[in-house]
C-alpha cells in the first residue's frame, strides 16, 4: 500500500511541498487510504453480486436452454422473447408466474405484518424488568438462532399427515377437523408456510425493537407518569411514536427478506411447491433448474428485481416524506 503511494510522481506545486516531501506523500496516502480500505469489499461485491447480476440481465435476453449451458455466450439472442413469455398472462408460463407473484405478495404482507406485530408486542411487554425476563428473552431468540433447515424440517415433521403433531392436536385431541388434513400439499400449504415463516421471523423484529426501546430516555416516561398517564397511554404516546424511524427500516428489511426467501419454502416443500404456496423464488428456481429454461428464469428474476426496486423506491420516498412532515 505504501509503495504504490510513494510511486506517485511528486509534482512541485508549492514550495512547502518541495521542502517537505513527507507531508506530500502523506497526503496522497491519506487520500487513497479510504479506497484501499474499501477495495476488498468492492471487489467481492463485484465478483459475487454485481457482475453476476449483469450477466443475469444479459442471459434474460438469450434463448438459454440446457444445450447452451456449457457455452452460454453462444446461445442465440431472443430479444425480449423471454420477457414476452413471462408476462403473457393468458399462456401457461405467464399465468403461473402471475399466480405465484400474487401468492408471494399476499404471503409477504401477512408474514411481515404478523412478525412486526408479535415482535413489537413482545418487546414492549418486556421493556420493564420482571422475574424471568432474561430467560424468556433467550427463549424467544431460539427460532431465530436455529439453522433454517433444522427448524423447518421439524415443522415438516409436525405437519405430517399421519404422524404429525398438528393433526394429532387438531383432530385427535381437539376434534376440530372432520378428518386429518394435508398441510404440505393443497390449499392448507399456504398457512403452513405462513406459520413457519412467522415462527422463524418474528424474533428479528423483537430483537430490533428491543434494541430501539433501550434508546428511549427514561425521563419521558417519568414525566408522562407525573402528568397522570396510565401504562397503556404511555405505550401509545411515548413508546410507539419513538419506534417510528426504526419501524421504517425494520419493515423494509423484513419485506425484502421474506419476499426473497428461498430456504423456508424449499425445505418445507422441496423443489416444486404446491400451487397455493408457490413463492416466486422457488418458482424461478423451478423454471430454471427443473425445466431447464435459464433464459426465462433470468427474465423472471429481472422482473422480480425491478418490482422490488420500485417498491423500495416508493417506500423510501413515502417514509422520508412522512418523516419530513412529522419534523415540520
Amino acid at each position: 500500500m505504501t509503495t504504490t503511494a510513494l510511486k506517485e510522481p511528486v509534482r512541485e506545486t508549492s514550495p512547502g511541498a518541495a521542502r517537505e516531501p513527507h507531508r506530500r506523500t502523506g497526503r496522497i496516502r491519506r487520500l487513497s487510504l479510504p479506497y484501499l480500505l474499501l477495495l476488498p469489499a468492492l471487489l467481492l461485491e463485484l465478483l459475487v453480486h454485481l457482475v453476476p447480476m449483469a450477466i443475469g440481465i444479459v442471459m434474460s435476453f438469450k434463448e438459454l436452454t440446457q444445450f447452451y449451458i456449457r457455452d452460454w455466450g453462444s446461445a442465440p439472442w431472443s430479444g425480449v422473447g423471454n420477457y414476452k413469455v413471462s408476462v403473457d398472462f393468458d399462456a401457461p408460463v405467464g399465468e403461473a408466474l402471475l399466480h405465484s407473484f400474487f401468492v408471494t405478495v399476499g404471503f409477504t404482507l401477512l408474514s411481515v405484518g404478523l412478525c412486526w406485530l408479535i415482535g413489537t408486542a413482545a418487546a414492549v411487554f418486556m421493556q420493564d424488568t420482571f422475574r424471568g425476563r432474561g430467560l424468556l428473552r433467550a427463549l424467544f431468540l431460539v427460532p431465530y438462532a436455529l439453522p433454517v433447515y433444522a427448524a423447518v424440517i421439524t415443522w415438516v415433521f409436525m405437519f405430517q399427515h399421519d404422524n404429525g403433531l398438528v393433526n394429532h392436536v387438531l383432530h385427535d385431541q381437539l376434534h376440530l377437523t372432520g378428518k386429518p388434513s394435508f398441510w404440505l400439499i393443497g390449499d392448507n400449504s399456504f398457512y403452513a408456510l405462513l406459520t413457519v415463516s412467522v415462527w422463524k421471523g418474528w424474533p428479528f423484529a423483537f430483537l430490533i425493537v428491543t434494541a430501539a426501546l433501550q434508546n428511549i430516555p427514561h425521563e419521558l416516561y417519568e414525566a408522562a407518569a407525573l402528568d397522570g398517564a396510565g401504562t397503556w397511554q404511555r405505550i401509545r404516546r411515548i413508546t410507539l411514536p419513538s419506534l417510528r424511524p426504526v419501524n421504517q427500516v425494520l419493515v423494509l428489511v423484513l419485506f425484502l427478506w421474506t419476499f426473497n426467501d428461498f430456504n423456508t419454502p424449499y425445505v418445507l416443500f422441496g423443489k416444486s411447491a404446491p400451487e397455493a404456496a408457490d413463492l416466486v423464488s422457488v418458482h424461478i428456481y423451478q423454471a430454471s433448474f427443473v425445466t431447464w429454461n435459464f433464459g426465462t428464469g433470468s427474465a423472471m428474476s429481472v422482473l422480480l428485481l425491478l418490482f422490488l426496486l420500485v417498491v423500495t423506491g416508493v417506500y423510501l420516498l413515502l417514509t422520508s416524506r412522512g418523516r419530513r412532515a412529522a419534523d415540520a
Binding site: 480500505l37 454485481l50 453476476p52
Partner: protein
Amino acid sequence: MAPSGSFLWSRRIFLTLLTGFVLIPVYVMVSSSLKPLADVTGKFRWLPSGLTFRPYIDIWSTVPLAKYFMNSLIVAGAATICSVVVAVFAAYAVSRYDFRGKRVFTVTVLSTQMFPGILFLLPLFLIYVNIGNATGIALFGSRGGLILTYLTFSLPFSIWMLIGYFDSVPRELDEAALVDGCGPLGALLRIVVPAAIPGIVAVAVYAFMTAWGEVLFASVMTNDTTRTLAVGLQGYSTLYDVYWNQIMAASLVVSVPVVAGFLLLQRYLVAGLTAGAVK
C-alpha cells in the same frame, strides 16, 4: 409508575401463548430425537413410550454427518472471519473519511441486499466454472467457492451496522492516537476496533448464522466431498423409511453450536444493534 392491572394480565396471557408457540417445535425436536422408531412412524404422542439414545448413535452412520459438520464448520468459520475483516475496513473508511463516491458505495452495497438470490445463482455458477477453466482454481464445488459466496451475503448488513457502531466511537480517541504517532491502521486496530467489540461480535454472529443456515447455494455449489449440513440433512428423508427420530437428533446436533453461541453472545447483538442499526 407501577404498571396497571390490565397491562399485567395482557402481558401474562400474551407471553404465555408466545412461549408455547416458540417452544412446541423445540419440544418436538428434543422429544422425538429420544423416541424409538415405532413412536415416530405411528401416531404422534406427546410422551415417548421409551427413552432411547440410539438415534444419536445412528445419525453418524446413516449419512456421513461428521464430514458435513466439518464442511459447514470450515465454510461458515472462514466466511465469518473474512466477512468481518473486510467489513471492518470498509466501515472504518466510510465512518472516518470523506471521499468521492462514498454515497455511491454505501447505496450500491446496501442495495445488493435486495437482490433475489436466485438472480445471481446461475451466473455465479457460470463465473466460477469459467474461472476454474481459465486459471485452474477450483471454485465450483469447492469449499473456497462457497466461502467466497457466503462472505458477501453478510457483508452489506455487517458494513451498515459497523458504520453506525464506529460512528459512536468518539473521533477524538483515534485522532489522539494519530497525533501520538499511530498510523491510520494502527488507530483502527488499537482504538476503534477494541471500542467496537460488541458491534464486531454481533456482526460475526450474524455472518456465522447466515452461512450456517444457507440452503440454495449449498445445494447447487457443493459435491459429495464438500456438502454442508444444509444439504446433508436431506439425506435422512429421501430414504424409503423416513427416520424422523434420527432427523430430529441430527437437527438438534447441528443446532446446538449455533444456538448456544448465539445465546451466549446475544447481549452483544442487542448492544450492537442499538449502536449500529437502530439510529
